[in-house]
């Protein structure tokens, strides 16, 4: 809501500075978003009378004007199409500066000298009107200072009005706030309407058929109007409010709407059949053409203003084209009505037709203010359009919306606010915003205030609404900051929450970067990852109204976002593509509305694991980079009950992938991405990924750890190198070693893998470092030797291994 202070000052005395006023409004809940100065520096401009207009010799669109500036006549080049001899216009002389900062100098435009500039309203910064130069009203003298002729100096506050305060969508509503905050009374506009001729009811009839959607419809009749432009003061105020002036009659309806908050509509009464207004629901599929020339299809819940031949307006939203006021209009039917807020909102949204009127109706206008607004507009039409006003308003009321009565408990109010405010003080705050408030002292009971809420405050329906009024008028700034006195609150992370943070820290500590990816992905990803839907849901969680197809599916895996992060950085030649993310994935559940949301941990590693350094070669990412991340994560979390199992996944390399299990339950996957996926996702072929469910990981990490006795006797280390067939996994060999090693074997570590010339075709050599010790004695060489021999025998027997 744009509020002109020049205008506002008509209803209430304002503080000396706009800044103080803004602070005051901010403090009481009307946020000031901007303060705009208008008409500054108009002393530098002068009034010019255009004497002569000639075509510019070398430019079609430009004209060459001789302009009387009082003492002198200047040649000025002008591009406006509306420039005519005889008109009065503002002129910026050389050396002056426009409100947007442009400096005007003597210039040569297409070979012709121009001494200054004829100005449009936009160039003056008083409206958006840029199509032509501004035409000043007759009476001004050429050469006069513009600031003496045109009262344009103003400050405009741009206010954010919260949806609960429709009363503040008017100058009088804002004046009421200022009055309450400064201890004044609002000066309502005084006017004396002169009514003449036959009663309005003789010319107009109103029938409300759907009273649930229209509680009141008041109409006035103004005749013998002359349609022309409004005077400067009204145009300027409308412009300051951001409303474009059109003609006196239409401007008056907008002006009174801005003044009172009551939207009005002027029909050309001669075009309303029989002067008969019918307020009714539309028939399904009924059509009408609105003022903007658009034909609109309507449905049963849209409310129409009709005459006996059909719709004349879309109620509360926009008038109809057919009954629009035009230059030839002489008789006006003025509508001032009250419509159901939710219904107007629905229609305005469905028709995508937000208007100043619907904006107010959908928040709620004062059902008690219809007639007064109509009277005020009739008076202004009388004044500005020379109209004669028929006696009386036709005031059709389907039902009467009564003021609400409420009871405010004093002690409770003070307790909620946490400030020591007395009952009388509370009552005075409520009275300051024009509520009726009566103190009721109860013997032994709680003091209460009986409050009657006027109909212009539809937001005040409950006691708590009044508590808020008291709090904001008392001033939030005056409420002392305290902390809850409770001793119930003990703050901490749960063990699970603590572990989740730890997981993130471990991964960052390993050199991975935490990513946060969008939770919605393109359906294309499902095709790339799992075209046959072997492991992804055949029907994922889909948005009904995505912003785009690219963001229309809720991710069933973290993988897509991580691969996108890889690609994004790769495309920008950024190295170190090591990412992890902790977030949710979404999978529909049978017979449940809400999908399963699983907390997942995902990692993606691509291209270089470590860059080339002066002392070491680069290391490329492979399967074992991802495995190393998982091993280190598990060991840091002290999780031992996990395992990998060869397993295919449609999006992973078939020979370099596995399922991850924790406590014998599958929790995710690890491997290189499938070359098909790498190509489609535009990531390097050596991109390794890992994705596991977080909850089982954290549960395993929270298992208590038993104490393991620390050996006090020396251990014996032995190396074991065996040659096996290339098809035998290292893990199989290790399993046999453990099995044969018995209780003296405490540690097995693979430290070398060799394939090559020294071995037979298809063979490999694995070297392990073994560590033996006993807790109760120093081991003898011969007992370790015999265990060692046993291991070798078992390896030879079970796996056909031989010593190397």
């Amino acid at each position: 809501m744009r509020v002109s202070l020049e205008w506002l000052a008509e209803y209430v005395d304002l503080p000396a500075s706009a800044h103080d006023l803004a602070e005051m409004l901010n403090g009481s809940g009307t946020a000031v978003e901007a303060v705009e100065e208008i008409g500054e520096g108009f002393e530098a401009f002068v009034v010019g009378r255009v004497l002569e207009v000639k075509a510019h010799p070398s430019a079609d669109r430009l004209s060459l004007c001789r302009v009387d500036l009082g003492g002198e006549v200047a040649d000025i080049v002008c591009g406006a199409p509306n420039v005519r001899p005889g008109m009065l216009s503002p002129v910026a002389p050389p050396g002056s500066r426009l409100p947007d900062g442009t400096r005007i100098s003597e210039a040569t435009i297409r070979g012709v000298a121009s001494r200054g500039m004829l100005l449009s309203e936009k160039e003056l910064g008083i409206s958006e009107e840029a199509d032509g130069i501004m035409v000043l009203e007759e009476g001004a003298k050429a050469g006069a200072r513009l600031s003496d002729v045109l009262a344009a100096r103003d400050t405009v506050l741009d206010l954010e009005i919260t949806p609960n305060r429709p009363d503040c969508l008017s100058m009088l509503g804002i004046a009421r706030e200022v009055a309450a905050l400064t201890g004044q009374k609002v000066k309502s506009p005084e006017f004396a309407l002169r009514e003449e001729g036959a009663p309005a009811a003789d010319a107009v009839r109103v029938d409300i058929e759907d009273g649930d959607l229209c509680s009141r419809y008041a109409a006035r009749v103004i005749e013998e109007v002359g349609i022309h432009a409004s005077p400067w003061w009204m145009r300027r105020r409308l412009q300051a409010a951001g409303v474009r002036p059109i003609s006196n009659v239409v401007d008056v309806t907008n002006y009174v709407m801005l003044e009172t908050g009551q939207p009005l509509h002027a029909f050309d009464l001669d075009l309303v059949k029989d002067g008969h207004i019918i307020v009714r629901r539309a028939a399904n599929g009924e059509a009408m053409t609105t003022l903007d020339g658009v034909e609109r299809r309507l449905a049963r819940d849209d409310l129409l203003i009709c005459d006996p031949s059909g719709p004349v307006a879309l109620a509360g939203v926009m008038g109809g084209e057919h009954t629009e006021v035009s230059a030839s209009t002489t008789r006006i039917l003025l509508e001032s009505a009250h419509f159901d807020p939710a219904n107007i909102m629905r229609t305005a949204r469905l028709q995508e037709l937000p208007s100043e009127a619907s904006y107010r109706f959908e928040r709620g206008v004062d059902p008690g203010g219809c007639v007064r607004a109509a009277d005020r507009a009739a008076f202004l039409m009388q004044e500005l359009a020379g109209g004669t006003v028929r006696p009386g308003a036709v005031d059709a009321r389907a039902r009467i919306i009564e003021p609400v009565s409420l009871v405010l408990r004093v002690r409770r109010t003070a307790a909620i606010i946490g400030a020591d405010i007395g009952g009388e003080e509370m009552a005075s705050y409520l009275r300051s915003i024009e509520l009726e408030a009566e103190m009721v002292k109860e013997d032994g009971g709680e003091d209460t205030i009986r409050v009657t809420v006027p109909t212009f405050r539809p937001d005040l329906e409950r006691e708590i609404d009044l508590v808020e009024e008291v709090a904001r008028l008392y001033g939030y700034g005056r409420i002392a900051p305290t902390l809850p006195r409770s001793s119930h609150n003990i703050g901490s992370l749960t063990p699970q929450q603590g572990k989740r943070r730890e997981v993130a820290r471990i991964l960052a500590g390993m050199g991975l970067h935490e990513a946060i990816c969008h939770a919605f992905i393109s359906p294309r990803w499902l095709e790339i990852l799992d075209p046959d839907r072997q492991c992804l849901p055949s029907a994922p969680v889909i948005l009904r109204n995505p912003i785009s197809e690219e963001m229309s599916v809720m991710r069933p895996l973290l993988l897509p976002g991580l691969l996108e992060a890889v690609r994004y950085n790769l495309n920008r030649q950024v190295a170190g593509l090591l990412f992890f993310e902790m977030g949710r994935t979404f999978v529909p559940r049978a017979r449940e509305k809400l999908p399963e949301e699983a907390q997942k941990l995902g990692c993606a590693l691509a291209a270089r694991w470590l860059p080339k350094q002066w002392h070491r070669d680069a290391e490329d990412v492979d399967f074992f980079a991802a495995k190393g991340i998982l091993e280190r994560l598990m060991s840091s979390l002290r999780v031992t009950s996990w395992d990998l199992r060869r397993e295919g996944f449609p999006f992973l390399h078939p020979a370099q992938s596995c399922a991850v299990s924790i406590r014998d339950r599958d929790v995710g996957f690890l491997g290189l991405v499938h070359p098909r996926v790498a190509a489609a996702a535009d990531v390097p072929p050596n991109t390794a990924v890992l994705e596991i469910a977080l909850d089982p990981l954290i549960a395993a990490a929270l298992e208590p750890l038993p104490y393991e006795e620390i050996p006090r006797y020396p251990s014996i280390q032995m190396d074991l190198a065996v040659v096996v067939d290339g098809g035998v996994d290292a893990g199989e060999v290790e399993d046999v070693i453990w099995e044969a090693g018995g209780e003296l074997l405490r540690e097995v570590r693979l430290f070398d893998l060799y394939r090559g010339d020294q071995l037979g075709e298809g063979e490999k050599s694995l070297a392990f470092s073994l560590s033996f010790y006993a807790l109760d004695r120093t081991l003898r060489d011969d007992e370790v030797r015999s265990v060692y021999e046993g291991i070798i025998a078992k390896l030879a027997g079970g796996l056909g291994a031989r010593l190397r």
Binding site: A34, L483, L543, N545, E564, N569, R572, K593
Partner: protein, 356 residues
Amino acid sequence: MAAKDFLDEIRADPELGGIYEEARAALESAADSEALEGVRVAYLGRKGRLSVLLQGIKRLEPEEKRRVGRLGNLLKGWLEKALADKGGLLRIGEMEEALRREEVDITLPGRAFPAGTRHLLSSIIEEIEDIFIGMGYRLVEGPEVELDYYNFEALNTPAWHPSKSLSDTFYVDVPGSGSDDVLLRTQTSPVQVRVMEATPPPLYVIAPGKAYRRDVPDATHSPMFHQVEGLAVDEGITLGDLKGTLEHFTRRMFGEERDVRFRPHFFPFTEPSAEVDVSCNICGGSGCRVCKGTGWLEILGAGMVDPNVFGYVGYDPEEVSGFAFGMGVERIALLKYGVPDIRYFFDNDLRLLRQY
């Protein structure tokens, strides 16, 4: 007998004196351990001059034998000590020299231990969590795909409210069910309702998480963003308690020197409601582009829990009162770290991630 005395005696003896003078000169000129060892061998080795001399004394007269034996042994003692002293000096010098040869170029880069990062938004969320944990709050969570009931209805949002429209809220297709009340939560506030439903008062909780609104991405809008929601319900909670709590939080988060301002505002599920501003750190309150000339930066929405919300969850508003607040994590990050565009947070550009 003082050393000088026996050295005088030795010098007085032509043969011993000669050995002494020569040995002394040789010691002095020995430049390294190898040369010094040569000196030792030349005098004290099996065929060294002093050794040979001492072996030869048994052929001397008894008195001469005693004198030369005594002086020869004294000379031997002196020489052994002088060799040891000189050897010590030479070894120190030689070690220093050897270490000098091991000099490294300290400007070469160190061995690289890969350094990862937490996402800036995660770090900020943890910072917020820790401040509230310090004030006695617990962390709770709720689903991101939510029911209209929790996201709107039980938060006192009227059925016709514009924020529920298809242009503002993402709705989820639930095939076959015909239901149109499944959506991506537009705020973390539904967690309030779920927690109150499940837990009797008192309650001091915060709920960090993702929220979604159907905004086309631009510098200040993202269809996915993060919020931290807070809720305190207990007997006798006041608007003053809300003020004190959020003042404490704001100063911890933004700096103890910052001013905090509470402005009345409107939210469907709180009443009285407030917006909380912190003084602009860029202009210090005098007004600049970032604070749009106001000197204040809006960071929080808050208010006393509306009695209607208590009605939905079965709390008695005559028995307990409470406050709730919510803040946008991205906005805090934008203000605190000057990141110019909200979309940067979800690009996962390593050049940004590595900065924090």
